[in-house]
Amino acid sequence: MSSPCRRRNAIAAAAALCAASAATTLAARAQAPSDLPLKESGPLGVAVTTLFPGGGSPPPADPHVKAYQGNPEYINKGQQLFAWYNCSGCHSHGGGGMGPALMDNQWRYGGRLDQIYASIVQGRPNGMPSWGGKIPDAEIWEISAFVLSLSSPSPANAGQTTPTPPPAPAAPPPPEKSEAPGVQTVPK
């Protein structure tokens, strides 16, 4: 219980910094390819649509994509940071909750690594906070790499059939008498 983060601070910013510094310590940053240049326009240049008037194609990926995507070391660090910064509070372990699911390969604002990075940095209008300036860039790339790793590699536009389950209960029903000793039940 010695971590300074255990002490609650009324000042939100200070608390956030506290978490940030602890998380920074957690993730050794020496290996982060922070020397990679951002694209000229930075994350703001990332398109979140596949529609380009007059023809065209998505802009080339940010150079960080190649460095981070699929890298187990960064994904692992990203997983730790995902919990540290309370990402898991909204997105659970990828299934979602207050925020959308991240493991279903459905992306409102694009599922390319630099698009995910942009969503974290900028925030999104329906409740995603803007983390730019709150989390170091390299850590946001690591979180992005972890988030991308959550979904299966199947094509995003692949059709999917969900079979209707048989009428049996979804889960095997526990025994009528609870296995847990000491269960109180309704008085007779």
Binding site: M98, S178, V186
Partner: protein
């Protein structure tokens, strides 16, 4: 056709049966200050009777059975029952309602006749036995529905009886209205002056429908345009639990923390007061209550490390009259010389600071997102406080006052009168926000002013509403997180095996974080003396994890996975007898019952299921009398009203969501059982049963 309404005292037949059941099984002597309540039996109750219309229906040994036993008592001064109405057969009681056809009806007539005769001999006897809400808090029904709980006693009981066990076969859809918002519809419609008002989940649109015209066309709609980002700090879907009518205004809250009054006639905004800050994680989902011209509002955000509060606004202009926090120093909690809690552990200076680690109270939760009741005679409001933050209790040693408990306050000043700490140092997210039904009922042989609360922790509490003393607390489903409630100290007897721990998964804790019963409000019928509890039957695995406070983000610190409870069915509608302290009957449901209940003088109970069935069951037996499949799962609050044509109408919003339905409303991924704070674990099949929706359904009998 004229619609008849009936007051409880005008129904001698029904009351006779209550009279027959009342007082035969007086409260066990464990009540009062004296001793520790013995732990109830560890075995599940024996199922009784035959299977009803609804599959999986369960019947407990009910009041009739108890009455039959009592009738054999030589000490009983009551007259004998009509012959053949009840009889012992092979050790089981055959209930009159189970008899077929004419014989049952004949028996019922006999019973009525005998009861009426008995009543004539003992005037006033019935009223003294069947618990009744105080008249000041539950005035005679005018056929409208002006607040979600129907009245200040929170009975959700309609005196309309046109729709009853005989006529209900003809019940049909009268009109529908699509809200255009496909998120969890938890609100109760209001009906005032032949206009229906409904509030949607975010974006919290208010619709007014003209009930005097065919199809109930829209009169107007009001769009408050709440901040879109508020959706990201709403813990459990973007729900709204309804509006309230007061003095020509419809008053309700928006997800982004505003309280708004709208002119009921023309839909114009009268005032708007910002109370919550989404950047601190504050949202508002509860339905306000207006007491003596003050609008009572509390915040949501117990999963975001907010500091919970309740506020009173002047209904005329929205100006803040008072605000009480639920953590921190006494002056912030509005604890002063009038504060007289019943139990010693709630006495002391600044417990809202001292029962926390340093500064932890500042992010300690204690929100108010449920129900408020009001006793005009005692001039006290009653409401519960939400869970402490974070869920990980190891980060906040202490009792964590004044979270997960029950306050009584003076509505004029906000001054606290008493507090009962339902769940000190809450380890399981057992918010105390559920409804308090105000009743005057016999306790240990004396009529007491009590409130009856079915709590998240799995107990039905009977509490003296003048003093805060707990008279009884009985489980209404399987509970192993505690071993009972110590009535001497008022504290739960914690089961050490189910205490939550850092880095260790504690398995099969019952009930879940969502509780044996969550927000979904119960109904009480003064005719049957039964309280109808919609609730869940779930257990959970829980692992504490360390969590940092970052304002505007979740402050939870637990990995939770929920699952079906004993028996496998995930829900129940339980008819609870508050005097006998046990169920009269229970109806099983596959899914958690996440809708409110409505009881009517037609002796029917209405509720909805998360598959989308809207059901009516016999208030005395639980027998399914009628059902209709709506377009989406139901988590709303049914109401009854008298239309301009004199007919009785039943209204319900259909649209799955809320915490239990978040997997559908939020399109969550069933592969992650920890999703939606663990609820997805118990609801992984919901996407195969229902889709999101948002439609009002209104039912009535055909015109005659």
């Amino acid at each position: 056709m004229t619609l008849e309404t009936s007051r409880p005292t005008s129904t001698p037949c029904a009351d006779a049966r209550n009279w027959r059941t009342a007082k035969r099984d007086p409260l066990r002597p464990s009540g009062g200050e004296g001793g520790t309540q013995p732990a109830p039996s560890l075995t599940l109750p024996r199922l009784r009777g035959r299977e009803g219309v609804g599959a999986g229906r369960v019947r407990w040994a009910g009041p009739e059975h108890m009455a039959a036993s009592a009738l054999k008592s030589p000490a009983s001064p009551r007259p004998s029952p009509p012959p053949g109405v009840e009889r012992e057969k092979e050790g089981r009681t055959l209930r009159w309602s189970q008899m077929a056809g004419t014989r049952a009806r004949a028996a019922a007539r006999l019973l009525c006749g005998a009861a009426v005769a008995a009543l004539a001999l003992v005037p006033g006897f019935v009223a003294a036995q069947t618990p009744q809400p105080p008249a000041s808090a539950a005035p005679a029904d005018d056929g409208q529905w002006t607040m979600p709980a129907k009245n200040y006693a929170s009975t959700r009981f309609s005196e309309l009886n046109q729709i009853n066990g005989t006529t209900i076969a003809k019940l049909r859809v009268e009109f529908t209205f699509d809200t255009g918002v496909n998120r969890g519809q938890e609100a109760a419609p209001l009906v005032v002056d032949n206009t229906m008002y409904i509030v949607t989940p975010y974006p919290n649109i208010l619709f007014a429908l003209d009930l005097t015209k065919p199809g109930a066309p829209m009169k107007w709609s009001y769009q408050p345009h709440p901040e879109a980002a508020s959706q990201g700090v709403a813990c459990c879907d973007v729900v709204n639990r309804g509006a309230v009518f007061w003095d020509g205004k419809i008053i309700y809250n928006t997800l982004d923390g505003n309280t708004i009054a709208v002119d009921a006639e023309n839909g114009k905004e009268v005032w708007k007061t910002k109370l919550g800050d989404i950047n601190r994680g504050e949202t508002i989902t509860m339905a306000p209550l207006v007491v003596k011209g003050k609008v009572l509002v509390g915040d949501s955000g117990g999963e975001m490390g907010v500091r919970g509060w309740i506020a009173a606004l002047d209904a005329k202009d929205g100006k803040l009259a008072w605000k009480a926090f639920h953590t921190g120093p006494d002056k912030d909690v509005l604890i002063g010389p009038d504060f007289k809690p019943f139990y010693d552990t709630d006495k002391g200076e600044d417990l809202g600071v001292k029962s926390w680690p340093p500064q932890a109270w500042m992010t300690g939760g204690g929100t108010v997102w449920g129900w408020i009741s009001y006793d005009p005679d005692l001039n006290l409001i009653y409401y519960g406080t939400g869970n402490p933050g974070p869920w990980n209790a190891e980060q906040r040693p202490g009792d964590n006052k004044w979270t997960s408990g029950l306050f009584a306050r003076d509505p004029d000043t906000g001054a606290a009168k008493w507090f009962y700490d339902t769940y000190p140092h809450d380890e399981h997210d057992y918010d105390g926000i559920n409804e308090s039904v105000l009743l005057d009922m016999p306790v240990n042989g004396e009529t007491r002013k009590v409130l009856v609360r079915p709590e998240r922790d799995g107990y039905v509490y009977v509490i003296d509403r003048a003093t805060g003393q707990v008279y009884s607390a009985d489980p209404f489903g399987p509970v192993n997180s505690t071993k009972g409630i110590d009535l001497k100290t008022g504290r739960p007897i914690i089961n050490p095996d189910k205490m939550t721990k850092l880095g260790q998964t504690v398995r099969d804790i019952c009930p879940t974080a969502s509780g044996q019963k969550d927000w979904e409000p119960s109904a009480y019928s003064p005719r049957t003396g039964l309280m109808y509890l919609p609730h869940a039957n779930l257990c959970m695995d829980w692992e504490n994890v360390e969590v940092n406070y970052i304002s505007g983000t979740p402050f939870v610190g637990a990995n939770v996975v929920m699952k079906a409870g004993p028996g496998g069915n995930r829900g129940f509608l339980t008819a609870w007898d508050p005097v006998k302290r046990k169920p009269a009957w229970q109806d099983k449901e596959d899914l958690p019952v996440w809708s409110g209940a409505l009881a009517t003088a037609g002796d029917l109970v209405f509720y909805g299921t998360m598959e989308g069935w809207f059901k009516a069951v016999d208030a005395r037996t639980g027998e399914l009398k009628w059902q209709f499949k709506t377009g989406s799962g139901i988590i709303g609050q049914p109401i009854a009203y008298k239309g301009p044509d004199g007919r009785e109408y039943i209204a319900i919003l259909s649209g799955v969501g809320g915490w239990a339905g978040a997997i559908v409303a939020g399109n969550l991924d069933p592969k992650d059982p920890t999703a939606a704070l663990g609820f997805v674990g118990a609801m992984s099949d919901l996407k195969q049963k229902t889709m999101p929706g948002g439609t009002l359904y209104v039912f009535a009998l055909p015109p005659t």
